[in-house]
Subunit: 163 residues, 2 copies
Amino acid sequence: MGAMTRAEAADMPDDGARKTPDRLRRQASRLLSQLTARSDRLINEGLAQVDARKWHYAVLASLQEYGPGSQAELSRRSGIYRSDMVGVLNELAERDLVERVPDPDDRRRNIITISARGRRRLPRLDKVLDDLHDELLAPLSPAERDQLVQLLTRLLDHHTRTS
Amino acid sequence: MGAMTRAEAADMPDDGARKTPDRLRRQASRLLSQLTARSDRLINEGLAQVDARKWHYAVLASLQEYGPGSQAELSRRSGIYRSDMVGVLNELAERDLVERVPDPDDRRRNIITISARGRRRLPRLDKVLDDLHDELLAPLSPAERDQLVQLLTRLLDHHTRTS
DNA sequence: GTACATCGTTAGTCGAACTAACGCAACGGG
DNA sequence: CCCGTTGCGTTAGTTCGACTAACGATGTAC
């Protein structure tokens, strides 16, 4: 099992002596970035093991939940920039998880559809992500996890609506 | 004053129709990265307005709280990689906020000291950061802010101790 | 004294988030 | 019917943070 993808000792600032100044340790922004760094790594490594990336999941889930759509629409649904969508869809198409066909009614558009294979893939990814989140949130009780999600959601909403 | 640094309408996936799939919207990892992106931008822009960066603050605060140290030690205290420390210290030295002198007792080391100017600078940065965090956490009550910090701290601790 | 660890530094990788600009197609109004 | 605007897919490129690798010089332990 010991796939050693993560930082192996050595070089990283590991806060060994715990001399990190208090002011720093309490900063919400700092906690956020550090935790997010770990979280992202965790998720990316976990998904990599099943040949997926988080954008894949975002697109597939969006297709499942709202049906086919143009690339631009998927971009809006999933929060991926339209410029990055191209690559994600290429990867998904390579894996036969989506189909990309030109829209006959609007020749600017491609219509993206989730494939049978893609549909079969989703539950698997759901499971993987669930497990990873379990690892991520391990120290928290279910109630605390909800709290966290709540708080984060409120903050994010605030900062998206006030653009 | 209208420095328009942030994303100006137009292109970004703004979740206008709020068609983001539920599964995505509840994912802690996703909430974290999105919120962190905003948070980082907020902090960076705010600090840029007083010609600072967050690493500057981290180093200065660490020097203030624990006294002078070698670059490697500062790196450990502040969580900056030793390879990135060089640049940060260059910037701080340019601004006369720290002094970097070779350690006579160990000629591999530089000893970094906070300057008088650096010491005067800190309260200013503290204030700026306080205000920015106020903006960041605006929708939360004081109690909720504490809760958030608590939860994040516990998670981060967990993931640093279990390496 | 020789192996090993540590320090400062340089260089470079990787992924995420984002901007700019393109050619093309569709839409809306005069 | 043309025309300006808007939306689409795509390519390219920037910036930033996090991180790895390797270097030469120095110090430490056996």
